[in-house]
C-alpha cells in the first residue's frame, strides 16, 4: 500500500531531523576550525584558514598524524591477514571446539574498551614491556582483528566450498586455488574489513589512552587538548582527520571500481 501524502511528509521531516542530529555537531566543529577567534561564537565574525596553516606547519601535528597513521596502517594489514586465515578456518574446516573458539575470539568485541585497555596495560607492565605506539598496535588488534574476521567470515560463509573443490579437481594446487579462486572471491570482504580496521584504529581513543605510553595518537591529543589548553587547532585537526577518513573511503571505492573494470575488460578480450 503506498503511503499517504501526509505520512510521506512526516517521514521526510523525520529523516531530515535524524540527518541533522548526526551531522550538525560536525558542521559546528567545521565552523570552529575556520573562525579566527580563539573561542567559537556565532555568528562568526571573521573567517580564517590560519589554524589549518598552523596545523600543517606544526611538528607536533606531523608527529601525531605519523603515529596515528603508523598504528592504523599496521593494524589494518595485520587484521586483514588474521581475518583472512581466521575466516577460512571457521568457514572451511571442521575442527574440535571450533564454535567455542569462535565465540572466545569474538568476545573482546563485547568488553568495554576501557576495561580491555586497562587489562592490557596491566599485562604489558607485568611482562615488563614499556607501552608505546607499538603496544597500541597490539591493543587495537585485540579488539579490531575479531571484527575484521567477522566481516571476512560473512563473505567466506556465503561462497560455495565446491568452487575450491572444483578447482582442485581440475588440477589446481593449494596456492593456485588461493590465488585464482579464494582471494578474488573474498576480495570484497577483505576490502571492507581493511576499511573498517583502518577507521576503527584511526579513530580509537580508549585503547590508545591506556596502551600508547609516552606516544600519542590524534584522538588522544584531541582529548588532552580539550581537557586543558584548548586552541582552534583541536577542531581543525578533527576536521582534517574526518577528511582523511573520507578520502580513504573514496579511495577504497575507487579501487573496487578499478578492479571490477579491469576484470570486465579482461573478460571482454
Amino acid at each position: 500500500m503506498p503511503a499517504s501524502r501526509s505520512t510521506r511528509i512526516v517521514l521526510f521531516v523525520y529523516g531530515l531531523l535524524v540527518i541533522g542530529l548526526l551531522y550538525l555537531p560536525l558542521v559546528s566543529v567545521g565552523f570552529a576550525s575556520v573562525s579566527r577567534a580563539r573561542y567559537l561564537s556565532f555568528p562568526i565574525k571573521k573567517y580564517s584558514s590560519k589554524w589549518y596553516a598552523e596545523a600543517l606547519a606544526s611538528g607536533t601535528v606531523r608527529d601525531l598524524l605519523w603515529t596515528s597513521l603508523s598504528v592504523a596502517v599496521i593494524v589494518t594489514i595485520l587484521s586483514v591477514i588474521i581475518a583472512f586465515f581466521g575466516a577460512l578456518a571457521f568457514a572451511r574446516y571442521e575442527w574440535r571446539y571450533r564454535t567455542t573458539f569462535q565465540k572466545l575470539i569474538l568476545l573482546p568485541i563485547f568488553f568495554p574498551q576501557t576495561v580491555l585497555g586497562l587489562a592490557l596495560l596491566m599485562w604489558f607492565n607485568s611482562l615488563g614491556v614499556i607501552p608505546s605506539w607499538k603496544t597500541a598496535v597490539v591493543a587495537h588488534l585485540v579488539w579490531i582483528a575479531p571484527i575484521a574476521t567477522l566481516i571476512v567470515a560473512i563473505r567466506a560463509y556465503s561462497f560455495d566450498p565446491a568452487l575450491e573443490e572444483a578447482a582442485r579437481d581440475m588440477g589446481a594446487s593449494t596456492p593456485t586455488i588461493l590465488k585464482e579462486i579464494t582471494l578474488p572471491l573474498l576480495m570484497p570482504g577483505l576490502i571492507s574489513a581493511g576499511l573498517f580496521a583502518f577507521l576503527l584504529s584511526w579513530g580509537n581513543f580508549p585503547l590508545s589512552l591506556f596502551a600508547t605510553g609516552a606516544d600519542s595518537t590524534l584522538p588522544e591529543w584531541l582529548y588532552a587538548k580539550m581537557v586543558s589548553g584548548y586552541s582552534p587547532l583541536v577542531p581543525t585537526l578533527g576536521i582534517m582527520s574526518v577528511v582523511a577518513s573520507l578520502f580513504l573511503i573514496l579511495a577504497a571505492f575507487a579501487i573496487a571500481w578499478l578492479v571490477q573494470t579491469i576484470r570486465d575488460s579482461k573478460a571482454a578480450q
Binding site: 579437481d169 588440477g171 576484470r263 573478460a267
Partner: protein, 359 residues
C-alpha cells in the same frame, strides 16, 4: 564403444566417519567407455562414493584402481578424472570462456590455443560462440549446465563424474539435457560415471545401473535386468510401482500366497520346500480379464481407485484376501475397467512374473 576392460576397479572399499560406516567393503568394476549410473535414496552412500572416486575424501580401507594404477591415496588435483558438481561450481568471477579455459590455463596451454578449444567446446555443447565473453550470472540454468560440461570436457578426463547435476532443473529442461548427455557420451566415447537419486534419469541414459542401499551395492546390471529381475524387495520397490506376493513353497512344486497359487518352475527360480520368497508382477503386466480370456493366473478383486497419470491410468484393486494390487493401463486402453467399487477379474501370465528369493 564400451570395452570389456575395466577402467576403474574398487576392491573392498570401506569409508567410515567416526563410528558411522558409510561404505561397507564395496567392490565394483566400471568398463572403459560405459555410461555407468549409481542410483540410491538419500543417505545410501552414493555421494560418499563419488567423493572417494574423484579423490576429495580418503578411503578408510580398500583399493581403487584406474586401469593398472592404484589411486586411492592420490589427491584430487593429480587424478586424471574430473567431476561436474551438483552446484556446477562455476567460478562467478570469471567469464564463460575463462571458466572453460581454466583447466587448460592450469596446464599452461597458450592463450590462443585455449580460446580455440573453448570455442570448439561451445560448438559441441550448442552454445553460441558469443557466450565466450558472457558472465556466468548472465547464463540460464541450462546454459550453466552446458558451460560446466564444456569445462569438464576441456580438462579431457579419463573418466567424467557427475554428482546429480540435473537435480535443480525443471522437468522439461532435465529431459532435454538427459538426452543431450547421452548423446554427448556417444560422441565423445568417454567413460561417464553418474550419480542420481532419480531412477528415470538412470534408465534413460545408462549402459549399466548400480543400485545402492546403506553403503553397499544391492544390484549392478543393465536397466532392463534391474527393472524386470530385481534381486531384492528394495530394488523391486525402488525401481517403480510393483506388486509383490509373499509366497511360501509347500513341497517344492507349488508356491502359495493367500490369494494365489503358482506352479513352481513356471517362474525364473524355484524355492526349496518351506522356503519363502516374493513373486513380483509389474503393474503394466496385470490386465482386467473378460470371461473369454485365459491368463495363467486369475485374481478376483474390487476396484478401489483410479488415478490419471498423463499417458497412463493407474488402478488400485483390493483382492478378496485384502491385498492391494496396482494395475496400469495406457490411456487408450482405459475403457475395460468398470466403475469404482465394482467387482473385477485380474489376470497375468507366468512369463511376466519374477521370483525374488531374498525377502
Amino acid at each position: 564403444m564400451v570395452s570389456s576392460d575395466p577402467i576403474l576397479r574398487l576392491e573392498g572399499v570401506v569409508k567410515k566417519f567416526g563410528a558411522f560406516t558409510a561404505l561397507h567393503g564395496v567392490d565394483l568394476e566400471i568398463r572403459e567407455g560405459e555410461f555407468f549410473t549409481i542410483v540410491g535414496p538419500s543417505g545410501s552412500g552414493k555421494s560418499t562414493m563419488i567423493r572417494l572416486l574423484v579423490g576429495m575424501d580418503e578411503v578408510t580401507d580398500g583399493a581403487i584402481w584406474l586401469r593398472d594404477q592404484r589411486i586411492e591415496a592420490m589427491p584430487a588435483n593429480l587424478r586424471p578424472t574430473c567431476m561436474v558438481f551438483q552446484s556446477l561450481a562455476l567460478f562467478p568471477h570469471m567469464s564463460v570462456g575463462q571458466n572453460i579455459e581454466f583447466p587448460l590455463k592450469l596446464r599452461k596451454v597458450a592463450s590462443s590455443a585455449r580460446k580455440e578449444r573453448a570455442l570448439e567446446l561451445l560448438d559441441l555443447l550448442r552454445l553460441p560462440r558469443d557466450y565466450y565473453d558472457k558472465r556466468i550470472s548472465q547464463c540460464s540454468g541450462g546454459e550453466k549446465q552446458r558451460v560446466a560440461l564444456a569445462r569438464a570436457l576441456a580438462f579431457d578426463p579419463e573418466i567424467l563424474f557427475f554428482d546429480e547435476p540435473l537435480s535443480a532443473l525443471d522437468y522439461r529442461l532435465r529431459k532435454t539435457l538427459e538426452k543431450e548427455l547421452k548423446n554427448l557420451h556417444q560422441r565423445t566415447g568417454k567413460t561417464f560415471v553418474y550419480i542420481t537419486h532419480s531412477l528415470e534419469e538412470a534408465m534413460v541414459m545408462s549402459d549399466r545401473i548400480a543400485i545402492m542401499k546403506a553403503g553397499h551395492f544391492e544390484q549392478i546390471a543393465v536397466a532392463d535386468e534391474i527393472y524386470g529381475r530385481p534381486v531384492s524387495r528394495f530394488v523391486a520397490e525402488f525401481m517403480g510401482e510393483v506388486n509383490l506376493f509373499e509366497v511360501t513353497s509347500r513341497d517344492g512344486t507349488t508356491l502359495e500366497s493367500p490369494c494365489l497359487t503358482v506352479k513352481s518352475g513356471t517362474t525364473n527360480e524355484s524355492l526349496p520346500a518351506g522356503g519363502n520368497g516374493l513373486l513380483m508382477v509389474r503393474p503394466e503386466f496385470i490386465r482386467f480379464c473378460g470371461e473369454d480370456e485365459s491368463p495363467d493366473y486369475r485374481i478376483k478383486g474390487r476396484l478401489l481407485e483410479e488415478y490419471a497419470l498423463g499417458s497412463r491410468i493407474q488402478y488400485e484393486v483390493e483382492t478378496e484376501t485384502g491385498q492391494i494390487l496396482t494395475v496400469e493401463k495406457l490411456r487408450q486402453d482405459r475403457a475395460s475397467s468398470g466403475d469404482i467399487g465394482s467387482e473385477v477379474m485380474l489376470g497375468f501370465d507366468a512369463a511376466r512374473t519374477h521370483l525374488i528369493k531374498d525377502t
